[in-house]
């Protein structure tokens, strides 16, 4: 989720804090077993960070490892290593990069990847997760506990779904966590963590919505992935996270006051020419090059769906210390990729309106069917409902072979030149 490895020209305090947090977590993971702490691997969408903290687990997030490896230009080789071991070229490259890392036993920062003591398979919004952890389980021979999150097929969360998830937590997940960690579950401890979560969530939402300003003080996609870093990973519910988001909010508030645009690796973007909404995950192998294509044209992303994969907070959901397990269930059920297509379309249309965007750009990711399957219909529907033109580009998460700079640039250029033409006409 975060791009600390990128050589970003970034002066702000928040960035350094975040860097420190992320690296601290990798060190914690590397030393976990010496300091005999237990390690749990889990996924970003529907992660149960607060719950896992109740059992003193060190949290390892394979998706984050994969993208960190990509930002450090390691993923291409890792993917090939996995493919050489009978993994199909067709399947998710997060999985293959992760498998490549397991095979070499070294994480993206060069520190050893600890053998997890438990795999917390929060099965949320992505079928690949299930196979992914079956593969990890096969590799390490470690235990797995599955939390099955039903899909919002009809765009609603039913009582039956809630009960099912809570019941799994009570009868399957928590007992396993207790057994592996040797720590008794203390629901009050969970409440405390959730209180922290709420604070961070409030500030995160404020930051994301600051993009409604003109010019937008943030880039809600390329910049956004930095902002969601802590709360989507091992830090939701920690005081560090609360702290980070308070600082971040202050920094952004200053930018708003000063009428400044977003900070980018190429420097401040001071002439916002296009305001875009982006659907789909970023490409990590050419992250900076990709961002620069937007920067060069003065395009700012004012809202994105990807910054909702680890939780949709800007529609009012907050973790609830008074109903801990129920709100964890609610959280998991509400993650972006667990929404059905009509709900996703409603969300995008709302963003286009509320953030006064010029149009929608979809970055379609080869690896990620949970996002990609149906995006072309999303594109049509959103265009029809908002009357705003959209564009479609295809890249991949961490497989450099699927980032064709020339093609992507051509499409972005053509799209923005098209927007300019339309403006010129409506102006005339």
């Amino acid at each position: 989720m975060n791009a600390t490895a990128d050589p970003v020209v970034q002066k702000e305090d928040s960035m350094w804090r975040q860097k420190a947090m992320i690296n601290a977590n990798y060190t914690a993971l590397a030393n976990a077993h010496e300091e005999d702490r237990k390690v749990v691997s889990t996924f970003v969408p529907g992660n149960l960070n607060e719950l896992l903290m109740c059992f003193d687990f060190v949290r390892n997030l394979p998706e984050t490892n994969a993208l960190q490896a990509a930002l450090r230009k390691q993923s291409g080789r890792l993917v090939l290593d996995a493919e050489r071991n009978d993994h199909s070229e067709d399947v998710c490259t997060y999985v293959k990069a992760d498998i490549g890392m397991m095979m070499q036993g070294i994480g993206p920062t060069g520190e050893t990847m600890p053998t997890p003591d438990l795999l917390m398979l929060s099965y949320t919004g992505c079928f690949t997760f299930m196979k992914w952890f079956e593969l990890v389980r096969e590799h390490y021979g470690c235990e797995t506990t599955m939390l099955h999150i039903p899909y919002q097929g009809d765009g609603v969360i039913t009582q039956n779904m809630r009960d099912y998830v809570v019941k799994q937590l009570k009868e399957d997940v928590i007992p396993v966590l207790e057994r592996i960690s040797g720590i008794k579950f203390d629901i009050d401890r969970l409440r405390e963590y959730l209180k922290e979560s709420v604070k961070a969530e409030e500030d995160l939402v404020w930051v994301l919505e600051s993009a409604k300003n003109k010019p937008s003080p943030i880039d809600a996609y390329f910049g956004g992935v930095y902002y969601i870093g802590p709360i989507f990973t091992a830090f939701r519910g920690t005081p560090e996270a609360t702290d980070y988001y308070r600082t971040l909010r202050q920094e952004i508030a200053e930018r708003v006051a000063a009428g400044k645009g977003p900070i980018t690796p190429e420097g401040e973007l001071d002439d916002e020419r296009f305001r875009l909404v982006v659907e789909g995950p970023p490409n990590w192998t050419n992250f900076r090059e990709f961002w620069k294509m937007f920067y060069d044209e003065g395009a700012v992303v004012v809202a994105s769906t990807y910054t909702k994969v680890g939780g949709v907070y800007d529609f009012g959901f907050r973790h609830d210390p008074d109903n801990p397990l129920e709100s964890l269930a609610e959280y998991c059920l509400g993650c972006y990729t667990n929404l059905n297509l009509p709900s996703r379309i409603d969300m995008l249309c709302k963003y286009l309106q509320d953030y006064e965007a010029d149009g929608l750009l979809i970055n379609s990711i080869k690896s990620c069917n949970s996002f990609s399957a149906g995006q072309l219909l999303i594109l049509r529907e959103v265009e029809e409902r908002t009357g705003k033109p959209s564009a479609f580009i295809e890249t991949d998460l961490v497989d450099p072979r699927y980032f064709s700079a020339a093609n992507v640039k051509n499409r972005i250029e053509s799209y923005l030149q098209m927007l300019t033409q339309k403006r010129a006409r409506s102006a005339a």
Binding site: N85, D86, H87, S88, D90, V91, C92, V95, Y123, C126, F127, T128, M130, K131, W132, E134, L135, R137, E138, G141, T144, M146, H148, P150, Y151, G153, D154, N160, M161, D163, Y164, K167, Q168, E171, D172, N340, L341, P342, R344, I345, S364, K366, N369, S370, S372, A373, G374, Q375, L376, L377, E381, E394
Partner: protein
């Protein structure tokens, strides 16, 4: 009826992209209704108990020219959703009163939402199934989902679905499951008698025919092949796996046999083989269906395996019981569940010294040469080196 009569009839049903058979069934009596479903499994009993016809929708095969379907899918997504959309957009499925999308992968899952948007007047449901297999947790959840489905379908059918009706339907489907099992057992025993290209067409017929008729048809076929002596070729025996959703073109199944492999077990068309044992037909029907799903259903890549030790055993058992000499992994390109599962299954086979080969296809694959090369080489190596 002779084998050719039966097989020709099945092939005609299989190739008919206008689903005339279903249309005729509907036309035969006023307000008859039909419900479509995609792979892998939905409880057909509930549709049947509502007096409606379940129709298996398995894509457009290699005869359908996909034009609009491609407009909805990127090149790196499998073929079945785009041809299914094509079928829908070209009115070939307009006779369907509803469509069920089982929980199998992200692509089919998202297709359910697309269907809601594209066919607003039709009943559309994403049919989720538990990945937790304890009665108190997963079972409880699943039973509720079944109730919702029953009420929904009762609404579509415009009539109540009683427990008695459900138990009756369970009985009817128990017979069909028994017939299909008999067919598979016979093929495992004499694969040169019951060719897989025929067995497959016979099962495909079950996607559009009323279940009672289908059960009879299987019986007729078995009688017909038993009555005939067909040439036995010098082929090896293989289990075909990985083809549980998007179906291979008939040409591929024929090519595999042509290249020297007799398929003695497979995971094509799982829907009427999904429940592996008789479902209790005289208890609370939804609980019976739920229990059957939790405890007596097929293993497939779309299902979670809680116990590491049992991962892949179903495939080894299939090889042993069907006395196969090897396994052919044939999966659709871009099929995440099958392709992600494959390495794990292969490791299990290696552990058991069961040889295997693997390749990919699309429902409209045209060039069979690479398929023949691989299946053929596999058959060669088993034949040339067996004793």
């Amino acid at each position: 009826m002779s084998i050719t009569d039966i097989v020709d009839r099945c092939e005609a049903l299989f190739e008919d992209l206008s689903f005339a058979a279903v249309r005729e069934w509907k036309a035969a009596a006023p307000d008859r209704k039909a419900i479509g479903y995609m792979p892998i499994y939905v409880p057909l009993e509930i549709i049947h108990a509502a007096g409606m016809l379940p129709v298996g929708i398995l894509g457009g095969g290699d005869h359908l020219e996909v034009i609009h379907g491609d407009a909805y899918y990127q090149s790196y997504i499998c073929r079945i959703p785009r041809s299914t959309i094509e079928l829908g957009l070209t009115g070939r499925l307009d006779y369907l009163d509803g469509m069920l999308f089982p929980s199998i992968c992200d692509v089919i899952r998202n297709l359910s939402g697309m269907w809601q948007l594209l066919f607003e007047d039709k009943y559309v449901r994403y049919f989720d199934v538990p990945q937790n297999f304890t009665d108190a947790v997963g079972g409880n959840y699943y039973r509720h989902e079944l109730e919702v489905l029953r009420d929904d379908l009762a609404g579509v059918a415009g009539r109540e679905i009683t427990d008695a009706a459900l138990n009756n339907s369970i009985g009817v489907y128990n017979e069909n499951r028994a017939a299909v099992r008999a067919l598979y057992d016979y093929r495992a025993e004499k694969p040169w008698q019951a060719l897989t290209s025929e067995v497959y067409l016979l099962l495909r017929a079950g996607m559009v025919l009323p279940v009672e008729e289908h059960t009879v048809l299987i019986g007729d076929y078995l009688d017909a092949v038993r009555a005939e002596d067909r040439p036995m070729r010098d082929n090896c025996r293989v289990v075909l796996t990985g083809a549980f959703c998007e179906q291979p073109p008939l040409g591929m199944i024929r090519s595999i046999e042509m290249a020297g492999c007799y398929v003695v077990d497979d995971d094509l068309m799982l829907v009427n083989r999904w429940l592996t044992e008789e479902v209790v037909g005289n208890g609370d029907p939804l609980s019976s269906l739920s229990a059957a799903f939790l405890h007596h259903s097929m293993e497939t890549s779309a299902k979670y395996v809680p116990d590491r030790a049992t991962k892949g055993r179903h495939l080894v058992d299939a090889v042993r019981t069907s006395q196969a000499e090897g396994v052919v992994f044939a999966s659709p390109s871009f099929c995440d569940p099958a392709l992600l599962d494959r390495p794990m299954l292969q490791h299990v086979l290696t552990g058991e010294n069961i040889p295997y080969t693997a390749f990919k296809y699309a429902e409209n694959s045209g060039q069979m040469q690479p398929i023949r090369e691989q299946a053929g080489t596999f058959a060669d190596s088993i034949k040339l080196w067996s004793a």
